[in-house]
């Protein structure tokens, strides 16, 4: 606003020398600019009042923040939009993807959001969406709560400033997911879906660990370090591949990886790629929660070629994650019950219309990858991947790849003695 006022002053001063014939037009223009500035100053930070509990009106009036969302129901896309008020979503990582996903869900009127991050807002983040320069120095969680509660005071916000990969952080993370005070009647954990919006493998593995232990369905998202590709992935413990079942998939950028100059920088980022991935993530979250359309098991985004490869991955019976194996066992045990339920559902609606393709209005029949018959990729034979994917790194070897010695530990080795031995070396 300061810059605009300075500019206005400069323009006023230049009026002295201007041609009298154009004076009228210049004055009109200046008057309208002053009026705009006055409006901005007057409107200031005004909080909209909370919408009465459990009352998401579908009335289309300009004072109803949910009217366009409730219209989804009127149009038959969503059966019951208002259910969104009952759902809890945990967003891990409030960076370029997580913060934008949080804003989208907040504007959609989600019931409750749990946010996790340990970082602070930096000027270097300003190439991304959501955070503002005046929030530099605040924790990302505090800054997010500030903005989100202004946008929609109806959303219950919980924020956790912690690192989920540390032992303490992880414990708090798990217990916060388990807290059911928002919706005590809910089965399972206290959240409906976990969204992983972190930027590193270690944190993804921690989310994977927590969700496998809690049998909690989650959506993983990611943007490549070169900022030109990304992905989202649905993980249902025991059913689909977990994050440890196979080395992570990456969307091939389509350019020769060896030509990438990685030296000198850790990671690049673009608000566009992150915005697209956040959009895909929240779209699939809404489909999952409100039961419309299809949730993609794995959707890649190659921005250089505007290519969106999809695939499915089965869980790996040889997964190194113990909790994953437990969930796989449960999934197999529950198979008869699942089949019976599916059969009962079919019989209950015998005359029901054959379910056609979900997008019948796809008049161009565009299908990037034929997923009518999704062949779940066998995570073991991980070398065969659909076009457009590669693995980030190889699986663990069965045998040592290096000719080295092992440090056999015998039971009579004493931890204290070993510790003292290292300390002695350290002080020598």
């Amino acid at each position: 606003m300061e810059i605009e006022l300075d500019q206005l002053l400069a323009d006023l001063q230049s009026l002295d020398h201007s041609d009298p014939s154009s004076l009228r037009a210049s004055l009109d223009q200046i008057q309208s600019r002053v009026e705009n500035l006055a409006n901005v100053a007057r409107s200031g930070p005004v909080r909209r009042p909370k919408v009465e509990c459990q009352d998401m009106s579908s009335e289309v009036v300009d004072s109803n923040p949910y009217s366009r969302l409730m219209a989804l129901q009127r149009m038959g896309i969503v059966e019951n939009y208002e259910r969104i008020r009952d759902f809890s979503i945990a967003i891990v990582g409030a960076g370029g993807v997580g913060s934008v996903a949080a804003e989208m869900l907040t504007r959609c009127g989600i019931g409750r959001l749990l946010l996790y991050d340990y970082d602070k807002v930096e000027l270097a983040n300003m190439n991304r969406l959501f955070f503002r320069p005046d929030q530099v120095g605040m924790t990302k969680t505090d800054a997010a709560v500030q903005t989100l509660s202004d946008i929609n005071p109806d959303v219950v916000l919980e924020s956790y400033t912690l690192n989920i990969t540390t032992v303490d952080g992880f414990e708090t993370f798990v217990s916060s997911l388990n807290n059911k005070s928002f919706c005590p009647s809910k089965e399972g954990t206290g959240v409906d879906l976990v969204l992983s919006c972190v930027d590193n493998y270690e944190a993804r593995m921690a989310v994977n660990q927590a969700c496998n232990e809690l049998s909690q369905t989650w959506l993983e998202s990611g943007v490549s370090e070169d900022a030109v590709s990304g992905h989202i992935q649905l993980l249902i413990p025991g059913e689909t591949a977990c994050f440890a079942c196979a080395p992570p998939l990456v969307v091939a950028s389509g350019i020769d990886e060896r030509t990438l100059k990685r030296e000198g920088v850790c990671a690049a980022s673009l608000p566009t790629t992150m915005g697209v991935v956040a959009g895909l993530l929240v779209q699939n979250t809404l489909k999952f929660l409100l039961g419309f359309g299809q949730v993609s098991p794995y959707l890649g985004y190659n921005s250089l070629k505007d290519f969106f490869p999809t695939m499915q991955m089965k869980s790996n019976p040889q997964c190194s994650n113990v909790a994953c194996l437990k969930r796989q066992e449960e999934y197999i045990l529950a198979e008869p019950a699942r089949d019976a339920a599916a059969k009962a559902k079919l019989e209950a609606e015998p005359q029901s219309v054959e379910e056609g393709p979900l997008h019948e209005d796809n008049e161009w029949n565009i299908s990037v990858v034929d997923d009518n018959e999704p062949e779940g990729v066998d995570t073991k034979s991980s070398d065969v991947l659909p076009e457009g994917f590669t693995r980030e790194f190889p699986s663990a070897d069965e045998s040592p790849s290096l000719d080295t010695s092992e440090a056999p530990v015998t039971d009579d080795d004493d931890l204290d003695a070993l510790q003292k031995q290292l300390e002695a070396l350290n002080s020598a």
Binding site: F170, E202, N208, C266, F393, D397, V409, N426
Partner: protein, 174 residues
């Protein structure tokens, strides 16, 4: 081991490997793993000392052995540059490597994530993943931190981002 210099490679092969796949939440198995970590760290430190290449000190900062602190240093142009070193053992260890932090260098180099976590080469994670659970803390230091210091300290010194402590002291006194 494509992408590694012969020196790192030969050192690495001499560090004893570990066998127990256990993380800090695994109770007695973690204690077993800790013992292996100590054995391998002791062997690596001894080896460095006998090769006249002693370059770090590290010890557990809590009884659980989940937080480690110490120092590391690098000699450049005959001057020794020393930095605080710290890291946590992640809950998913050893599937994921510890993220090594040099807090004093936070914000001074591009090859670092926020909080002073060093940015490892593209070769580190594949090798770590391939060798889980045989690699431990000593391997992370050898494969991650040693090459990082060798690459970054000269750049940091030459660009004036860091000063030798004697220089810093003189300029502060004057």
């Amino acid at each position: 081991m494509e992408g590694w210099d012969p020196n790192t490679k030969s050192t690495l092969t001499q560090i004893p490997l570990l066998t127990t796949k256990a993380g800090p939440r695994d109770g007695t198995a973690w204690t077993q793993r800790l013992k292996e970590e100590y054995k391998s760290l002791i062997a690596y430190t001894q080896m460095n000392k006998s090769n006249d290449n002693d370059w770090f000190r590290i010890s557990a900062a809590n009884p659980e052995g989940t937080r480690w602190t110490g120092k590391c240093w690098y000699v450049y142009n005959l001057l020794k540059y020393e930095f605080d070193l710290q890291f946590d053992i992640p809950v998913t260890y050893p599937s994921t490597a510890p993220e090594l932090e040099l807090p004093q260098l936070d914000g001074k180099t591009q090859k670092m994530y926020r909080g002073g976590k060093i940015c490892l080469t593209v070769h580190f994670k594949p090798l770590w993943a391939k060798n889980c659970p045989r690699f431990g803390i000593a391997h992370a230091l050898c494969l991650g931190l040693a090459p990082w210091l060798a690459a970054e300290v000269p750049i940091l010194v030459d660009s004036g981002m860091i000063k030798h402590k004697d220089d810093a002291a003189t300029s502060a006194e004057s």
